[in-house]
């Protein structure tokens, strides 16, 4: 494993040049960097070198582009800042609220099992519930909560190490005209659908499991036509930066 870790470390250069294509190696490197301060510092420094390479390639942009971009700016809404919590000691009340939220999620998961009728559904619900429990009990699980712009609150428990998260929501209005809430993983490389939120039961939605997180992803929820879409077509009602 030592050799492997060394190999990962030498990827700082290709990563800084965006030459590490998406895939297993990319994901392993990202996980490694999260735990390796020296790598983070090195990537930051090498990215500045890449910036110099970019600046040295500056070219005169087409003149008409300026007016087009400025016009587009006038009708484009900005994203809110990330509510990233800097590494600092957590107040003890926060821990308690994590426990309360996790308990609520587990209760709903159990309720979901109680509501199925066939054994196939039961097995499926159990598997789902086990996967959800694994996220909730992950040692690195973090809880995030944020109100949406249409009312209600989304609660997310995320495990960066498992690259999974569990989301639940309460108090969201039923989307009009048969539309649905769709989950998105909004990453620096691209936006991926993470599935649809089921209809609310007693005002509560979920918990729903989303997998395949990549470092830098944010979680977004949009209102989409029935059946969902492959790319978001509306402004997210909530965007949660993930740790």
């Amino acid at each position: 494993m030592k050799l492997l870790r060394h190999d990962l470390h030498t990827l700082t250069g290709v990563y800084a040049l965006d030459a590490l294509a998406p895939g297993a190696e990319h994901d392993r490197f990202i996980r490694h960097v999260r735990r390796c301060q020296a790598c983070t510092a090195e990537v930051t420094g090498l990215r500045e070198v890449a910036t110099s390479l970019a600046l040295a390639a500056a070219a005169e942009p087409p003149a008409a582009m300026r007016a087009r971009v400025l016009a587009a700016v006038g009708r484009t809404r900005q994203l809110p800042p990330e509510m990233r919590s800097r590494p600092k000691p957590r107040p003890s009340g926060f821990r308690l609220s994590v426990a309360v939220a996790v308990a609520a999620l587990v209760a709903v998961a159990v309720l979901a099992i109680a509501q199925v009728n066939t054994s196939r559904q039961l097995n499926q619900a159990r598997r789902q519930s086990q996967a959800i429990a694994a996220v909730l009990s992950a040692p690195d699980a973090r809880i995030l909560a944020k109100p949406t712009t249409v009312g209600g609150v989304t609660t997310v428990v995320v495990s960066p190490a498992r690259r999974e998260l569990v989301i639940s929501a309460s108090g969201l209005p039923v989307p009009p005209g048969g539309q649905v809430y769709e989950l998105w993983l909004i990453g620096p490389p691209r936006v991926r659908s993470a599935g649809l939120l089921p209809a609310a039961t007693a005002g509560h939605i979920g918990p729903v499991l989303a997998t395949g997180l990549v470092a830098g992803d944010e979680l977004g929820v949009t209102v989409e036509p029935a059946g969902g879409t492959s790319q978001p077509t509306t402004t997210p009602i909530v965007v949660l930066p993930l740790p």
């Binding site: 500045e48 005169e60 620096p188």
Partner: protein, 198 residues
């Protein structure tokens, strides 16, 4: 938060114009608060570099312009997420530009041939955009690239300007993956030392 002091703990290269660097950071922070006038100033500073690096990677002028437009709008949309403690505004924006350019060439790989044919019929006037101002940055980078071994320089430019993954670079050069990996890292470290970390 404002006015901010430069963060001494943050690693960054000695810029050709350090005051301008700081000024760009401050402008982008203002853009994050919805300041359209600040965005115009940011546009004037970043449109050339963004278009330039996209053009290097994407090559087709029409497509490059499309991607550059998307990137600059993205700078507006996401400005509130720029955190000066994590890196310079230029690095933040150039990372978006370079990644978008790569996304474009990768997703369009299948359609490339068709586009190349179309590009061949485009008027040479498009290339007027090649006219560039000589910059201090360009000179510095050229000097530091000159300090690398030929093999390092080749791998770095293929990866960054060519928009190739390191696997592709290894294949193009017929060299082992591990060699390319260390070659690129060693070369970038040498560049970093040459450009000088402030």
């Amino acid at each position: 938060m404002s006015p901010r002091e430069p963060d001494p703990s943050r690693p960054r290269l000695a810029a050709a114009d350090p005051d301008g660097d700081q000024e760009l950071d401050d402008l982008l922070v203002r853009v994050g608060r919805g300041d359209e006038a600040a965005f115009e100033a940011v546009y004037d500073r970043l449109a050339g570099p963004a278009y330039g690096i996209i053009r290097k990677v994407v090559r087709d002028p029409g497509q490059s312009e499309e991607v550059a437009q998307e990137v600059l709008l993205e700078v507006w949309r996401c400005a509130a997420r720029f955190d000066p403690a994590l890196g310079s505004a230029a690095t933040w924006a150039m990372t978006i530009a370079h990644r978008r350019a790569i996304d474009r060439v990768r997703s369009a790989a299948a359609a490339t041939q068709r586009e190349q044919k179309a590009a061949a019929f485009r008027s040479p006037a498009d290339d007027v955009a090649e006219a560039v101002e000589a910059s201090l940055e360009r000179e510095r980078v050229r000097r530091c690239l000159g300090g690398l071994t030929e093999a390092q320089r080749e791998s770095i430019t293929l990866a960054y300007y060519g928009g190739h993954s390191y696997l592709e670079v290894a294949t193009l050069l017929g060299t082992a993956l591990g060699t390319i990996k260390t070659r690129i890292r060693d070369g970038l470290i040498r560049m970093r030392d040459c450009l000088g970390v402030s």
